[in-house]
Subunit: 280 residues, 2 copies
Amino acid sequence: MPAELRLTQARAPLTQQVRVLDEFGAERSITIPAERALTVFVDRRELVTLMTLGASPELLVLGYLRNQRLVDAVADVESITVDWDVHAAAVRTRRGIAHFERKTAKRVVTTGCGQGTMFGDLMSELDTLKLPAASDPAARISQSALYGLLSAVRVQESTYKSAGSVHGCALFRQHEMLTFVEDVGRHNAIDTIAGWMWLNGIEGGDKIFYTTGRLTSEMVLKSAQMGVPIVVSRSGITQMGHELATRLGLTLFGRATNRHFICYSGFDRFDAEPEPVRGA
Amino acid sequence: MPAELRLTQARAPLTQQVRVLDEFGAERSITIPAERALTVFVDRRELVTLMTLGASPELLVLGYLRNQRLVDAVADVESITVDWDVHAAAVRTRRGIAHFERKTAKRVVTTGCGQGTMFGDLMSELDTLKLPAASDPAARISQSALYGLLSAVRVQESTYKSAGSVHGCALFRQHEMLTFVEDVGRHNAIDTIAGWMWLNGIEGGDKIFYTTGRLTSEMVLKSAQMGVPIVVSRSGITQMGHELATRLGLTLFGRATNRHFICYSGFDRFDAEPEPVRGA
């Protein structure tokens, strides 16, 4: 039995009211999403400052450590203590982080929105990433299961519905939503799901990622890194996202809402049940 | 007269065709935006890899150096040579970059989408940022000028219209569009405009930024850093974006399309010409 991982359950308001002026000249109150800085310390060393909505800061930090490959296994983490009063997350590891300097220096080479961090490292490990075969029934999706998934997203209560301006991300087994996360940055949302999977010992091979964000190279890489073979997005795709998914055999659906979607890659995991063409 | 800055004019296709499958079971071709890695070397030292659409790589690199505060003045840069065959941008400076190690190390402390880089540094320099007074007529906007600006954005030809999945950013003087930039990452688009302003000796005090991206803390900070007092966005806002704009006296409009908008902050720069309320 693995040693216990101790996590706080720090909570803070997810929305805020502000006064605005509209096109009719009316002043009124609207709701906007919270956004707060969370500085992560690992064994008392400052690592990074994340800007987050703040819904699940402990899982965000855990997933960040995982996706940055700073920690190899959840059992290596002893505790994560988040204190919003000082905007800090204190991580204690059981054995320290090997090659801390080298691992954190690497991040300097990648930057900016659209790819986030870790790109260089992951690219060099592409060929080590292994997804389940397309013939594995658990690693496939049918058109009706895809519609069921989109339906579950649509009815999900969310900060987005009340305040806008956040990205949502969810993990599914077929059309069953296992967890749903929102954050001001989509990378944070994905990292939080990675943390949740680690904490609960959930494998990715029979899972599906849903994201409101675009299908960029980093989204594809992070999904493959977690072993998840199918990604569904409300948004579109970029060329690198497409290339990587094709190379990895990952199935991508974009522009997906209601009964509309585009399958960009990995058609072989998809059981099409085509809609009748109107007028045909 | 400043010494000449030599820039290549590297060009590469901005879109690509891919085969997709839709909900009707039909395979067809669609257009997606290009996305390519550009590794920046400064005086032969590797600095960063940017993922970019590739429309204006030289201006992107120049603006990146500016916004990261690696270079203090455009005259310090001798040449920027982009070669897509090797995905590299070679920057030559006239006198080298002072404190290169310290400046690039700082970036490790900030990360992820929603704030990008530089946050830590900029936050500590907030009080040195100075925007023109709201009483300055050139640093104000009327409701009709705002509508004119949105109209100019609407008719602009763009990669977004043909391929989606890119962010757009533009610089305006009142409703006159001075430059328009698209990129897969919105920070790249802003940085490219920063490079364009530097190259052409354009000041920000009487300008307006338009962005398709959200009004996050970093958007507000970058705008203030370039002296631009008004930002207009098609999207919404986050709490830190709101707080910083309020503190800096920066005017933010969001959810802005056609004749709709919300003014979130800096009402005192705005000359409202309210729409008649229907039914009133």
